[in-house]
């Protein structure tokens, strides 16, 4: 009772201040508390602006379909409106929201059966049966290509396409960990897999992508 009273008070205090203070610097968890307690639309709007691109980005990475990603975006924020109370603060709010997004995206993907053509990367390695890389890497070394080429719009499109070639379970891990920059533990909670499974998928995904990019860049940069 006391903590509910305190939460109410905190909510009021933020609401009273929200006209004066800049809500954009308020942490997610406080904003959600404000929204739950007071239905404060300005708090919801800050959360919306903070996460709209990230939610869409995850949905697009999993489904690879802009129309479905727009639907998922709607579903996720409607879930937030209707079920914000189910966020209990045990994990970061972003982890909760990304988990909702991932689940919605996987539901769409499985409905479309798009994952069926995915290749398996479980055993993917760049070395030969003797465990050596001899003749496989150096001839395609693109690491010293100038930044102007490597960071060009065209190059970013190449890497985005390469990430989209990863199988779904590897693509999701790679996106959350290496593109969004989340920790192994956060990825584990969002995807409901163990931390060693996160690391294992990330490892194979990176090996596959490094190879893919080497193939692309060794051909493509000869033309530049």
């Amino acid at each position: 009772m006391e903590s509910r009273y305190l939460r109410k008070l905190i909510g009021h205090s933020y609401k009273a201040q929200s006209r004066e203070i800049d809500l954009s610097s308020v942490p997610d968890e406080r904003l959600i508390e404000l929204y739950i307690n007071e239905r404060d639309q300005s708090a919801f709007e800050v959360i919306f602006n903070r996460y709209v691109d990230k939610v869409y980005g995850i949905a697009l990475r999993v489904t690879r379909d802009p129309d479905q990603s727009e639907e998922i975006l709607q579903e996720v924020f409607i879930t937030l409106i209707r079920k914000a109370e189910s966020f209990r603060g045990e994990a970061k709010f972003s982890t909760w929201l990304y988990r909702v997004t991932m689940n919605a995206s996987l539901m769409h993907l499985r409905g479309e059966k798009k994952y069926e053509n995915d290749i398996s990367l479980d055993e993917y390695v760049p070395y030969d049966e003797k465990g050596t890389l001899m003749g496989r890497i150096k001839s395609k070394d693109w690491s010293s290509r100038p930044d102007i080429i490597i960071y060009s719009k065209e190059a970013l499109k190449i890497i985005d396409d390469a990430v989209n070639e990863l199988p779904e379970s590897f693509r999701a891990v790679f996106h959350l960990r290496d593109i969004e920059g989340l920790s192994n533990e956060e990825c584990s909670r969002i995807l409901d897999i163990s931390v060693p499974a996160v690391k294992s998928r990330l490892h194979r995904a990176r090996l596959f992508l490094r190879d893919k990019l080497s193939d692309y860049f060794s051909e493509w940069s000869k033309l530049k």
């Binding site: 409106i81 003797k130 690491s143 970013l156 890497i159 490094r210």
Partner: protein
């Protein structure tokens, strides 16, 4: 250590999580193997490059406005 050891320990190497003995073996191999040196350089470059994808925005002002209207109606009901 052979090339396979470098490949399978690359995440620990990048994240500075290897034990001293493994690190020493890996660096000794790297100093002698141009293929592995290229492997590590391109691996690091790939990580820099994929990190750049984080800065992109996807949602157009039109989608954003449409969604905001929809959500406003849901909040009001």
């Amino acid at each position: 250590m052979i090339c396979k050891g470098v490949v399978e320990n690359i995440m620990g190497y990048i994240d500075a999580e290897l034990d001293y003995e493994t690190l020493e073996e890996l660096e000794k191999h790297l100093a002698e193997c141009p293929e592995c040196k290229s492997f590590v350089l391109t691996y690091k470059r790939m990580l820099e490059l994929t990190g750049k994808l984080r800065e992109r925005t996807f949602v157009t002002p039109e989608i954003r406005a449409k969604l905001k209207d929809l959500l406003r109606s849901k909040i009001d009901t």
